[in-house]
């Protein structure tokens, strides 16, 4: 770069929108960055900032160059120079700005940058570890107390500043150094800022920038670096004087936003740096803010100042409440609520808040109203424990005041506008009531006042009564009608969800008597069938829906099959089930074409279906309404299929299709829940279920795969519970089920292979999934029922071992028919579902009968046959899944030779062709060996491939680059070294083998560790720990031998070995290994 003009041209080119320069932006940037970092940086910055003819961009670049120079390693040595240049130019630019604000407004950004540079220097000078003698001798600056005072001293030179460019550097430097730690009396400061409002603005901005930067530079919260002490002694005092004068002497309509920015920056900084030694009290500042807030009103400033102050309170109450002392908080309490817990403070100030709220509501300032609600509720949450004690404990006094207090809180919760759309108080208050309920529940019984329970029940019942209309879908409907804003709808749903969670917490206080029974009675005491809807107005059902939604949350975990309470309460509320079903039916009939109805329809169906699912245990006690329940649900399913058909034929919007899909899932899930819970009541429905299933299985039927699978499960539940009829009857139904599936598969397979669609492939897949679902539902985990089954167990075992009805043959035949079809054999998802079917009963105990209990030979034959015929790479993981289960189940029937055969046929034959180059397959293979080591290690350690292939191959995989391989192979070696399942012979054998290959094993492990990424270090830790624990002497020798081969760092290696062998515990060993890795790789510890 030849001259300063060239640099200026480049800077102008960089900032101009139309680049006239021949260089690209990146090239310009890199050239300029190079200069900024070079030794020419300082003189360049000085020149760019000195010449008044340059543009403001060029001057800003000059300030930026000083920032770059301040961050260089060499900045320590240039600190004095940097300080001098920054202060000089800040003073000159600030002086020009004050003298001619409109013309020099473009300099303001440069002024702020210079202030930021000085704040960094302020930090560095005061935090530098310097020897005072060295500092003095070298003429370095040891301390800089107060940048504000320095700036005031320099700016006080007035018009002489303009002469600075003409005086010699030494005199100028002396002037700056004199002002550095000069004291500034309070009166001089006030006189200075009064002389020109621009001075005031500059000083406020400077102190704001300093503390903002210091906040960023803090490394730990509440730590006490030296800088904070200096700020406390000097800058804090000056700033508080500045702020308090501004807050008390400026009329509210003339107050500048800068002051609030400065206050916010200081509040954040003080909150962060508070500690035992340093306590920067902000009480006077807060008191002045409170006073100023009261002056803000509609006439003076349209509550603008109030808004800014409320946001400062919000920050304090949500982050660091104790910044504000008790007396000030009491004033805020009186203002916010019009009542205080102590009964002291001036409650008349509440009028101001009511005016402010009125202003926000009248002007529909929803965001500001939300801000206020957050602030007030955060404030309330601070004292919820104290309020709880005053309300419910024996220490309670001033009962009238506390009752008044609660009344205000309930009124605030019941804010008379629409939640989400117009108000947020009710939403935010959910958290408060939750806190209060938690506090109450945590009180020890002996501390409770005699009437505490009654008081709690009274308050929390009112809370529920307030929230029921608040969460009504009527409000959601209004949100939808207002513009269908998705965000607002989600916000409303979150609110509903929070209220249902609250009701669950309140149940612990209110119990069934005061909550569950009331809700049940609300839903079921009157016949709702008389409610008339005109097809568009469903508002009469909204309250029932809201109660259903809360009640579901309370009942979802209760087992109603054994509860006499539910029978009693439902007897008293005879319309309960009927009204829920009515809600469901109303949902069904809602016109979805009306865009406003879609979400509401789904809510109706969801709330009613969920409640049916939660309460259906009741039908085991009293099944008389089960019939209408099942009928209604099937009616719903029928509507779904009709809608799906209509959607398919017409061009229906995606949104409506999505709602219909969800609708179908909700209904079928509820049907499955009812069938699961009430299976004993349903044998008479079996024929009906078969008929429906038969209809839905048809290819043309428009239902999802999920629905078909769930319905297959339902049929399974009903057949499973009829065990007293004997296996022959069950087998008859199972055959009927399988034949039905078989028939549909045959029909589909017989179609022209050239015109097979993806839907047909999915359809065939669903058929197999249906059998899988059906098989799962035939496994009953209910221990109590199994005891009854025990009497018939031998008969069942014999029957299913022989399988005279040929169920397994049918299933296997069906699988073979599909897998041998060329269309389906290429799709690995069919292998997946077939493996799932064959492995279904491998989790069952040997004695438990099941129609899908395939023999070991059947499964092995299946695997070996299809391994060859299908895509090995995509199918292997599914075969491995099946094999792992097989080995685990038949471990006692397998020999090492058989294992060898399986291993050779399934893995070895394909190792070099597929597995070696595919990390996923490698992981599958290693995991299979690990699973065998987990269940019966002798199978694998006595295998001929153990020494021939497994150990030599797996040791070479240790330094792999693949995370999955590393994870699997280190787990394998850890298991080999340390395995509790070993027999004595296994143990001896593996010890000899490890001693033989130990040196290589440790070398590969350490080589892998050396080259691995930090996130994979833990994988090696367990292996090294196992080696150290099981082979301490040998491992030490192996490490001494191998570590120098990996890298030459003997001190680090020695320290590592010494530490590793005296370390106990996984975390400590992990740290030792990490330290070694960091030392040898020279990477930092984060």
């Amino acid at each position: 770069m030849s001259s300063i003009e060239d640099v200026v041209a480049l800077i102008d080119a960089l900032y101009s929108r139309q680049h006239s320069s021949q260089l690209g932006v990146n090239e310009i940037q890199s050239k300029l960055q190079e200069i900024q970092k070079s030794s020419d940086g300082l003189p360049l910055a000085n020149e760019l900032l000195s010449n008044p003819l340059y543009s403001s961009n060029v001057r800003y670049f000059g300030a930026l160059t000083l920032t770059v120079q301040s961050n260089l390693e060499s900045a320590k040595l240039n600190r004095h120079e940097l300080l001098r240049i920054n202060l000089l130019h800040l003073t000159m630019l600030a002086h020009r700005y004050v003298e001619n604000p409109s013309q020099c407004a473009g300099n303001y950004i440069t002024i702020k940058k210079l202030m930021s540079n000085l704040s960094l220097l302020f930090h560095d000078i005061n935090e530098a570890e310097t020897d005072s003698l060295v500092t003095e001798t070298a003429g370095l600056i040891a301390e800089w107390w107060n940048p504000i005072n320095t700036l005031v001293q320099l700016l006080s030179q007035g018009n002489q500043i303009e002469e600075w460019t003409h005086i010699d550097e030494q005199s100028r430097d002396g002037l700056i150094m004199q002002s550095l730690n000069a004291q500034l009396p309070y009166q001089d400061l006030i006189t200075f800022i009064s002389s020109n409002p621009r001075y005031n603005q500059l000083l406020l901005t400077f102190t704001e920038i300093i503390v903002e930067d210091l906040t960023k530079l803090q490394t730990r919260r509440h730590s006490t670096p030296r800088i904070n002490e200096i700020v406390h002694k000097h800058l804090y005092i000056t700033t508080m004087s500045l702020l308090n004068v501004n807050l008390t002497s400026t009329p509210v309509d003339q107050i500048d936003d800068t002051i609030f920015k400065t206050v916010t920056a200081w509040v954040t900084y003080v909150s962060l740096t508070r500690s035992g030694n340093i306590s920067m009290d902000l009480s006077e500042l807060f008191q002045n803010l409170i006073n100023l807030m009261y002056q803000s009103n509609d006439d003076t400033d349209s509550f603008n100042v109030a808004e800014r102050i409320i946001s400062i309170w919000s920050y304090i109450f949500s982050n660091d409440t104790t910044l504000m002392n008790y007396e000030l908080r009491e004033q805020i309490e009186a203002t916010f609520l019009g009542v205080t817990r102590s009964g002291n403070a001036d409650v008349s100030k509440n009028q101001w808040l009511l005016q402010y709220m009125n202003h926000l509501v009248t002007n529909e300032m929803i965001t500001e109203l939300k801000e206020l609600s957050i602030c007030i509720v955060d404030f309330l949450q601070i004292s919820s424990l104290d309020l709880c004690n005053k309300l419910f404990t024996k220490t309670a006094n001033n009962e009238a005041i506390i009752q008044q207090y609660i009344k205000v809180l309930l009124q605030l919760t019941n804010f008379p506008l629409l939640p989400v759309l117009q108000e947020s108080f009710s939403i935010r208050m959910v958290d408060f009531w939750l806190d209060l309920a938690d506090s109450y529940l945590n009180l020890p019984n002996e501390a409770l006042a005699p009437n505490a329970i009654n008081v709690a029940v009274d308050i929390f019942q009112q809370v529920i009564n307030i929230y029921l209309p608040k969460i009504s879908l009527l409000n959601k409907q209004k949100i939808i009608e207002d513009g269908n804003d998705e965000t607002l709808i989600h916000e409303f749903e979150d609110f509903r969800s929070a209220v249902t969670d609250l009701s669950q917490s309140l149940w612990s206080i209110l119990g069934n008597e005061h909550l569950t029974n009331i809700l049940i009675s609300g839903i079921g005491s009157n016949d709702a069938s008389g409610i008339v809807t005109n097809g568009t107005d469903f508002s009469s059902y909204y309250q029932i829906e809201a109660m259903c939604s809360l009640l579901n949350k309370l009942l979802v975990d209760m087992d109603l099959s054994i509860s006499p309470w539910i029978v009693n309460i439902l007897t008293k509320n005879p319309f309960f089930i009927q009204n829920i079903l009515l809600l469901f039916k109303t949902g069904l009939t809602m016109d979805q074409q009306n865009p406003n109805n879609g979400p509401l329809k789904l809510d109706f169906i969801r709330s009613s279906s969920n409640l049916i699912g939660s309460t259906c245990g009741y039908f085991n006690r009293d099944p008389k309404e089960l019939n209408s329940c099942i009928e209604t649900l099937f009616q719903g399913l029928e509507t779904c299929t009709a809608k799906n058909t209509a959607n398919k034929n017409n061009n229906v919007p995606e949104k409506i299709k999505e709602i219909d899909d969800k609708f179908e899932v909700i209904v079928i899930k509820t049907i499955a829940t009812v069938c699961d819970v009430c299976r004993k009541q349903l044998p008479n429905y079996l024929v009906h279920f078969f008929n429906v299933f038969n209809n839905l299985l048809q290819y043309e039927s428009n239902v999802s795969q999920f629905t078909r699978g769930k319905l297959a499960r339902c049929i399974g539940y009903i057949i499973e519970c009829q065990y007293e009829l004997g296996p022959e009857t069950q087998a008859k139904y199972i055959v009927q089920f399988l034949d039905m599936i078989n028939g549909y598969v045959d029909t589909c397979l017989s179609s022209d292979p050239s015109s097979i669609t993806s839907q047909q492939v999915d359809y065939i897949h669903t058929m197999l999934e249906c059998i899988s679902e059906f098989g799962s539902s035939m496994i009953n985990n209910n221990e109590e029922e199994n005891e009854q089954l025990l009497q018939q167990l031998p008969h069942y075992q014999q029957f299913w071992a022989a399988d005279p009805s040929g169920c397994r043959t049918r299933v296997m035949g069906l699988i073979e028919k599909i897998l041998t079809n060329s269309i389906y054999s290429t799709n690995s998802s069919f292998i997946e579902v077939a493996c799932l079917l064959l492995g279904k009963t491998l989790i069952l105990k040997e004695v438990e009968p099941h129609f899908l209990k395939f023999s070991m030979a059947d499964i092995i034959q299946f695997v070996l046959k299809h391994l060859n015929e299908h895509n090995y790479v995509s199918s292997l993981p599914f075969f491995v899944y099946l094999l792992e289960k097989l080995v685990s189940h038949y471990k006692d029937n397998l020999s090492a030779n058989e294992f060898d055969y399986l291993f050779k046929e399934i893995f070895l034959k394909y190792y070099s062709q597929y597995i070696a180059s595919d990390p996923d397959l490698l992981q599958s293979m290693i995991n299979f060996i690990i699973s065998v080591l987990d269940v019966k290690p002798s199978l694998v350690v006595n295998s001929s491939e153990w020494m021939n292939f497994i150990l030599p191959t797996f040791v070479k995989l240790l330094p792999s680059n693949e995370k999955f391989t590393i994870f699997a192979v280190t787990k394998f070696w850890t298991k080999v070294v340390n395995n509790r399942k070993y027999t004595q012979q296994d143990l001896q054998l593996t010890r000899q083998q490890i001693i033989m290959i130990g040196s290589e094993l440790v070398y590969q492990t350490m080589f892998g560790l050396y080259n691995t990424q930090r996130s994979d270090l833990n994988s090696y830790t367990d292996l090294l720990r196992a080696l150290v624990a099981k082979f301490p002497i040998e491992t030490k020798a192996w490490l001494i031998e191998t570590l120098p081969k990996i890298c030459n760092n003997p001190t680090v290696h020695e320290k590592f070995i010494n530490k590793l062998f005296i370390t106990r515990g996984s975390r400590a060993a992990g740290n030792v290994i990490l330290t070694w890795w960091l030392d040898v790789t020279s990477l930092p510890s984060y």
Binding site: H490, V665, Q1013, L1083
Partner: protein, 122 residues
């Protein structure tokens, strides 16, 4: 920008581990200084913490046998065995698990919950 007062525990998440590995690579190749990597991680701590607080609408329900619990240094640790984990509201399609047909609930043998105070004040 140094960011005080945020937990570093998210660095052990998958995304955190990947970031650390990437930073290690950049340092090894001499493309960045270690101090910059530290700053990046501090910013990561801040961002993850704030995003999890402000922008996640999902809720996790855990049900199982509480095996062990402890409270030390303001950190709760729970080990829950045989538990079902229900994730609600992952996206708009899976509100209440409806979009998530086959996996309403995730079954876990052993779950370790580490719960820290969201208002860190060390």
């Amino acid at each position: 920008m140094a960011v005080p007062g945020y937990y570093e525990l998210y660095r052990r998440s998958t995304v955190g581990n990947s970031l650390v590995d990437a930073l290690d690579t950049l340092i090894s190749e001499g493309r960045i200084e270690a101090s910059l990597a530290m700053r990046v991680l501090e910013t990561f701590d801040k961002c993850v913490s704030e995003i999890l607080k402000d922008q996640t609408g999902s809720k996790l329900t855990v049900k199982g046998d509480l095996d062990t619990y402890g409270f030390c240094d303001d950190v709760w640790t729970f080990i829950v065995k045989n538990c079902s984990v229900n994730v609600e509201g992952i996206s708009n399609n899976t509100v209440n698990g409806e979009g998530n047909k086959n996996n309403d609930t995730i079954k876990v043998d052993k779950l370790r919950i580490v719960a820290c105070n969201s208002r860190k004040s060390d």
